[in-house]
């Protein structure tokens, strides 16, 4: 077991390195840099090439590319992520508050998703091919089909027109004022959560169906309702694992995928930070963000893999 864990951990390193190189190169290939973004965008009649060169030198952008990469990587290894090229503040500071918001949103959305997906999936499986099944499938597919940003727009519209209420615009962290915080985050969490519940519902349904096909379950069903209930619980235990796997993976995706939702709901989260950082060509910040999300994603994957290997010993020896 220990060797398997070690192997999986080591496998993450080349992937992370690959991500680092990819984002580094991508950013430098994209036209424009932070100095241009800062000085050429106000429409002013004056542009001082001299000033722009001074700024570039200050930010280290005049160095050869390989040197910029090694400087950055050296910092990362010392857990020093550097300063944002746009604001000059330490990157950890820029990310902290936004990370809290996005993480909370992702967790809330995930919770809502699971609260919806698991019972609905089980119900759909038990009542397969009946109208209950159809309604649940339609409901969950509608969740996949509806763009979450559009759902968000509709939600805000409804709040505005029907309840005359505008969600609070300045973020209050959970530990400062929980009621205010929840008021702001519940709507995007619902919009995103509904969409992610769809994936879980289908997964739960097919996993349940698969287990219900097992001979021992079929015999029990033939024998009557009471046994069916007992064995349904048993079936559930086996079915739930792949579902939780998928939902954890989806959660890992969530963190990076909140960009549009944050735009619609005016949330100052990681998604917005991403868009701003790319728009400003803030190399250090974008790189740090991508590494953060990728690392997070890989670790979630890692834990799921470990959990699987622990349950099914055959996997360890592949």
């Amino acid at each position: 077991m220990g060797i398997y864990i070690l192997k999986r951990l080591l496998a993450m390193i080349p992937t992370l390195l690959g991500v680092a190189v990819l984002i580094f190169v991508l950013l430098r290939v994209v036209p424009g840099d932070v100095v241009e973004a800062r000085f050429l965008t106000q429409g002013s009649q004056f542009q001082s090439q001299e000033l722009m060169d001074i700024e570039r030198k200050k930010l280290g952008l005049d160095q050869p590319l390989w040197k910029q990469f090694t400087t950055w990587m050296g910092g990362v290894l010392r857990l020093d992520f550097g300063l944002s090229m746009w604001t000059g503040s330490p990157i950890t500071q820029e990310i902290k508050l936004r990370f809290a918001l996005s993480l909370q949103l992702a967790l809330m959305a995930s919770l809502i998703a699971q609260l919806l997906a698991i019972p609905l999936g089980i119900l759909a499986a038990l009542k397969q091919d009946t109208w209950v099944d159809y309604v649940i499938r339609v409901f969950s597919i509608a969740g996949l089909a509806t763009p979450s940003f559009w759902l968000g727009i509709l939600m805000i519209l409804t709040m505005l027109i029907v309840f005359k209420w505008v969600p609070p615009m300045v973020f209050t962290p959970l530990w400062v004022d929980p009621w205010q915080n929840l008021q702001q985050l519940i709507w995007p969490a619902l919009a995103v959560g509904y969409r992610y519940s769809a994936v879980g519902t289908r997964m739960m349904r097919s996993a349940m169906l698969e287990v219900l096909r097992e001979d021992y379950i079929r015999t029990a069903r033939a024998k009557g309702l009471w046994l069916k209930l007992i064995l349904a619980r048993h079936a559930l235990k086996n079915a739930i694992l792949p579902v939780l796997t998928v939902m954890s993976l989806e959660f890992a995706f969530l963190l990076g995928g909140l960009v549009v939702t944050e735009q619609v709901f005016n949330l100052n989260g990681l998604g917005m930070l991403f868009v701003e950082a790319i728009a400003h060509r803030d190399y250090t910040l974008t790189q740090a963000l991508v590494m953060l999300v990728a690392t997070f994603f890989l670790f979630v994957n890692f834990f799921v893999d470990i959990a699987y290997a622990w349950i099914d010993p055959r996997i360890r020896y592949r």
């Binding site: 990819l22 991508l26 499938r137 763009p147 727009i153 519209l157 995706f253 549009v260």
Partner: protein
């Protein structure tokens, strides 16, 4: 078939497959009403896209500054937008953009993803390991960030959007196809083909790929829905198809949101169109998967 040569065994198997498919279509409509509804929605969309020129009451680019942001009325059934353009016509023409981008991205993504997945499974060993690591790198990138980056490098516009959307789909497709391909690799006819000395490319394309068609097809239909959604998101962010082209995500931008309180029709209808389209593809894809996945047959 005992006694036949491996090559003819493949041919016979392939021939035996064909009539079953045709009969299956009729079966499909009867036994999977949801899938049939999905297929119907897709059909409507395709028809709209093809006949837009005849069906749409107005030119989608035609502005009318005297009738800006008009509520739905007899002249404009779904109202007009901020430039006085007919919302209904723009939605009809928007199906073209959605299908173009969706099909283009899904095809591109599924094609490259499948080829990579199958090749990786076929060659195995070191090649497989390296390809997997590379796919992992792309996989770990959040989808929308990857799309954003591609757009930033290549620029906006329909063609680049197709590339931007296809890019995150390749590793996802590769991963799924690879696991199916791994099973196929152990099949006797593949071994036989290798023994016969066929070139790698031929084996991959003619022997392995056709046999992983089922998961590829399912992925492709799922991708189509995803692609339409992603295109809408990108256009909404201003990074996709550009004005004045009619595209559903684009219609949700700017004035649609700003004036949503007093003129909700600009935001409601395009969003409905997107949802219906993706809904159709997902219903169909779902039922397709149920039909093709032998383990879930109710018989």
């Amino acid at each position: 078939m005992p006694g036949s040569t491996p090559a003819s065994a493949t041919v016979e198997l392939a021939r035996a497959e064909r009539p079953r498919w045709l009969a299956a279509v009729g079966d499909f409509v009867r036994r999977r009403p949801l899938g049939a509804i999905g297929a119907a929605i897709i059909l409507v969309m395709v028809v709209l896209a093809a006949t837009a020129g005849w069906i749409a009451p107005y030119d989608p680019l035609e502005t009318d500054y005297a009738a800006m942001i008009a509520a739905p009325n007899a002249a404009h059934w779904l109202g007009t937008d901020a430039f006085g353009r007919d919302v209904l016509s723009r939605i009809i023409y928007g199906s073209r953009t959605a299908l173009l981008v969706g099909l283009g991205a899904a095809t591109l993504g599924a094609t490259f993803g499948s080829l990579i997945g199958v090749a990786s499974a076929y060659f195995g060993g070191r090649v497989d390991l390296i390809v997997q690591r590379i796919m992992d790198v792309f996989f770990a990138f959040p989808v929308i960030i990857l799309a954003l980056a591609v757009v930033a490098v290549l620029g906006t516009g329909a063609g680049n959007v197709i590339l931007a959307i296809a890019t995150p789909m390749v590793p996802r497709c590769a991963r799924v196809v690879r696991s199916s391909a791994l099973a196929v690799r152990e099949m006797p006819y593949v071994d036989a083909a290798r023994a016969s000395g066929f070139r790698h490319g031929r084996i991959i394309l003619r022997h392995m790929l056709p046999n992983v068609m089922a998961p590829i097809l399912i992925m492709a239909t799922a991708f189509l829905g995803e692609a339409i959604l992603l295109e809408a998101s990108l256009s909404f962010l201003g990074l996709g198809v550009q004005e004045p082209t009619a595209a559903w995500g684009l219609m949700l931008r700017g004035a649609a949101v700003e004036f949503a309180e007093t003129a909700p029709w600009m935001a409601i209808f395009p969003g409905l169109a997107i949802s219906l389209a993706v809904f159709g593809f997902n219903l169909f894809g779902d039922s397709l998967r149920d039909a093709l996945d032998p383990r879930l047959r109710t018989q």
